[in-house]
C-alpha cells in the first residue's frame, strides 16, 4: 500500500479501523473455523479419545498415534490399512491427475481452434463438469455395471469388430468375451474412477482455455513465417504461455484427488478388496464408525496433510524456475 493510499484511507474515514466491522464475520469464521480447529486437531492427534465422553477417557499418548500408523515393523491392522489407503490415494493421484491435465489440455486446444459451431462443442465438453456431484457418480457406476452397463457392451462390440486380432480376449472355457468387472474388481475399480475424473475434467479445460486465449497471435504468425511447424510453435510459443495454467491445474488436481471422498464412499463395495479405500474414506471410518478413534483419525489427517505438501511444494519449487510469468518476471 502506498503512502498516499494510506493517507487517503485515514482522511476519508476518520478512523484507522473502519474495515474491522466489515471484516468481523469473516474474521470470526477464520479464527473459529480454521485457526483454532487446526490447533485443536493437532492436539487431538496426540491423544486417545472416543470423542463421546467429554474430558473423561481422554488420554495423552504423545506420538503413539503417528507411530502406530507409520511403523512398518508393527503389522497391526492400523498401519497396514493406512498404508493401503495412502497407496490407493497416491495411485489415483499420480496416474489420474497427469492424465486429466493432458486430456483437458487436448480438449482446450481443440476448442481453441475456433472452427464453426465451437460454442456448442464447448457446452457439451463442459456439461459433465457443470452437472457434477452425487448424481454423476451414480450414473457412472451404472454405466460401468459389468453386466448391464453400456461400457462393457461397447467393449464387446469392439471385440466382435476386431475378432480376428483379439481372439485372445475370449475366455478359453466358455469362449465368452473377457470384460473388466470395473467397480466390482480390486484391479479395475481405480481405472474406472480415473475415467470418471477424465469425464469431469471440464474445470481444468476452462483454465486452459482462458490461458490459451492470452497467447499473443503475432508470435505464432512470426514463428510460422520463420518456417516453424505446428509442433515447434506449440513447444516454443504456446507452452511457455500456458505453463502457469499447467501448474495451477496440477496443484489443484493433486489437492482434490488426495482428498477424494464422495466417489470412494458411494462406489465402495466388498468385491473391490479395499481398492477404493482412499485416505479420507479411511479417516472417516476411523473417526465416525465405532470405536470412534478421534485421536487416531486426527493423526491420519495430519499425515495426509504432509503427504499433500510433499507432492505440491516440490512442484511449486520446480515451477519457480520453469514457469513463465509474463508480468511478474
Amino acid at each position: 500500500m502506498s503512502v498516499s493510499e494510506r493517507h487517503y484511507d485515514v482522511v476519508a474515514t476518520g478512523s484507522p479501523n473502519a474495515g474491522l466491522p466489515f471484516a468481523l464475520p469473516w474474521l470470526i469464521g477464520l479464527i473459529g473455523l480454521t485457526v483454532l480447529p487446526m490447533i485443536g486437531s493437532l492436539l487431538l492427534s496426540l491423544t486417545r479419545w472416543d470423542g463421546l465422553s467429554v474430558r473423561e477417557g481422554m488420554e495423552w499418548v504423545g506420538l503413539a498415534n503417528y507411530q502406530s500408523l507409520l511403523s512398518v515393523a508393527d503389522e497391526g491392522s492400523d498401519g497396514r490399512l493406512f498404508r493401503r489407503a495412502v497407496g490407493n490415494s497416491l495411485y489415483f493421484t499420480l496416474i489420474g491427475v497427469p492424465l486429466s491435465v493432458l486430456a483437458s489440455l487436448g480438449m482446450a486446444l481443440l476448442l481453441n481452434t475456433g472452427v464453426r459451431g465451437i460454442a456448442l462443442f464447448r457446452t457439451v465438453f463442459l456439461l459433465p463438469y457443470l452437472l457434477g456431484g452425487v448424481a454423476t457418480i451414480l450414473i457412472w457406476s451404472w454405466l460401468f455395471n459389468p453386466r448391464f452397463g453400456i461400457v462393457n457392451k461397447l467393449l464387446r462390440s469392439a471385440y466382435v469388430a476386431l475378432d480376428p486380432v483379439v481372439g485372445l480376449f475370449r475366455d478359453a472355457g466358455t469362449s465368452d468375451w473377457i470384460v473388466p468387472e470395473w467397480f466390482y474388481s480390486p484391479h479395475a475399480c481405480k481405472p474406472a474412477l480415473i475415467l470418471l475424473q477424465l469425464w469431469l475434467a471440464g474445470g481444468a479445460v476452462l483454465v486452459f482455455l482462458a490461458a490459451l486465449q492470452r497467447v499473443p497471435r503475432h508470435l505464432h504468425e512470426a514463428a510460422l513465417m520463420d518456417g516453424a511447424n505446428r509442433w515447434h510453435c506449440f513447444r516454443a510459443v504456446t507452452m511457455p504461455h500456458i505453463s502457469p495454467a499447467v501448474l495451477f491445474n496440477l496443484v489443484v488436481g493433486v489437492i482434490f484427488s488426495m482428498q477424494a471422498f464422495d466417489q470412494a464412499y458411494l462406489l465402495y463395495n466388498r468385491a473391490q478388496d479395499d481398492g477404493l479405500l482412499f485416505c479420507v474414506l479411511y479417516l472417516y471410518r476411523v473417526a465416525f464408525e465405532p470405536p470412534y478413534r478421534i485421536g487416531q483419525a486426527s493423526a491420519i489427517a495430519w499425515i495426509v496433510f504432509v503427504v499433500i505438501g510433499a507432492l505440491v511444494v516440490p512442484m511449486m519449487l520446480i515451477a519457480r524456475r520453469r514457469v513463465y510469468y509474463e508480468v511478474s518476471r
Partner: protein, 275 residues
C-alpha cells in the same frame, strides 16, 4: 482453402465429435434407463434405446421416496448458505480491498494460506465443535459457516473485483454524506453484479452437491438433501435403477438452470477480472 488445411479441419471436427459423444453418452444412458421398466433396465445385453418410454417413472421416483422433500431441503440449505456467503464474503472483500484496519496485511496472507489448506484436517474439530453446540441433526453446521466468510475463494473474488472500482466513486459518495455502510449497500453492491453472480453460482453448486457435510450432520432421512437422498434408491431392496436415474436427472436440472441463468454475468465477470 488448401487441401492440407481442409484435412486439418476434418481431423479437428472428427476429434470434436468423438469427444462430444463420449461426454454425452453417459447422460444419454441415464436418460434412457430412467424411461425403462425395472425389468428392461436389467436386460442383457443393455441397449441405448427405449421401446416404450415409461414417463411414469418420474412420478414413481417422487412417490417411492420423499424426493420432493429432498429437493426442498436442498433448496432451503442452499438458499440460506448462498445468501450468507454473498453477504459475508463481500463485506470481508470490501474491508480487504479498500478499508484500513489493524492487521489487514496479516489477515490477507492468512486468507491466501487458508485457500491451500486441505479441508480434511478441519473435519474432526468441526464435528466436535458442532456437537458441543448441539447442532448435530440441524442445518446449522451446513449454513452458519457460510455466514462467517463463506469460503476464502469467495472473499478473494470480491476483493479483486472491488479493487477495479475507481476510488473516485467512493470519494464522491462520501463527500455527499454517505456512510461506509450506505456506500456498501446502495452503491458498491449494485455495481458488483458480476462478482455477486460468480460467488452465488459457485457457492450454489458447492452447497447443492455437498455430500460429506450432510452425511456427517444429518441422520433423519426426512431432513436429507438430494445428495444424500439419491443414495436411498440404491439401498432399499436392491436398486430401483430406473427410478435412481430418473431422480438423478431431476437433481441435475437446478444446476443446469443456475448455470444458464448466470452465464451472461459469468462471462462478463471473467472479462472484467482479465482486464
Amino acid at each position: 482453402m488448401t487441401s492440407r488445411s481442409r484435412t486439418r479441419t476434418i481431423v479437428i471436427y472428427a476429434a470434436l465429435v468423438a469427444i462430444a459423444s463420449v461426454q454425452v453418452l453417459p447422460l444419454m444412458f441415464a436418460l434412457t434407463t430412467s424411461l425403462k421398466t425395472l425389468d428392461d433396465a436389467y436386460v442383457f445385453p443393455p441397449s441405448l434405446t427405449v421401446a416404450d418410454p415409461q414417463w411414469g417413472n418420474y412420478l414413481d421416483a417422487f412417490a417411492k421416496l420423499p424426493f420432493g422433500r429432498f429437493m426442498l431441503n436442498s433448496a432451503l440449505i442452499t438458499l440460506a448458505a448462498v445468501t450468507g456467503a454473498v453477504f459475508s464474503s463481500s463485506m470481508a472483500g470490501y474491508a480487504l480491498a479498500r478499508l484500513p484496519w489493524r492487521g489487514k496485511r496479516f489477515w490477507f496472507v492468512l486468507l491466501l494460506g487458508s485457500m491451500m489448506l486441505p479441508s480434511q484436517v478441519l473435519l474432526i474439530p468441526h464435528f466436535l465443535t458442532f456437537d458441543m453446540l448441539g447442532w448435530i441433526g440441524t442445518y446449522k453446521p451446513l449454513i452458519v459457516p457460510a455466514w462467517l466468510g463463506g469460503g476464502a475463494f469467495n472473499v478473494f473474488v470480491f476483493r479483486q473485483f472491488f479493487r477495479t472500482i475507481p476510488r473516485s466513486v467512493e470519494e464522491a459518495a462520501l463527500v455527499d454524506g454517505a456512510t461506509r455502510w450506505g456506500f456498501y449497500r446502495h452503491i458498491l453492491m449494485p455495481m458488483s453484479k458480476p462478482a455477486i453472480v460468480t460467488v452465488a453460482v459457485l457457492s450454489f453448486v458447492y452447497h447443492w452437491r455437498s455430500f460429506l457435510g450432510p452425511l456427517l450432520y444429518l441422520s433423519d432421512f426426512r431432513t436429507f438433501p438430494v445428495a444424500l437422498g439419491l443414495r436411498m434408491y440404491q439401498s432399499m431392496a436392491g436398486t430401483w435403477i430406473n427410478l435412481l436415474m430418473a431422480a438423478s436427472v431431476v437433481a441435475l436440472i437446478p444446476v443446469l438452470l443456475v448455470f444458464a441463468a448466470g452465464q451472461r454475468f459469468l462471462r462478463s465477470g471473467s472479462a472484467q477480472s482479465r482486464g
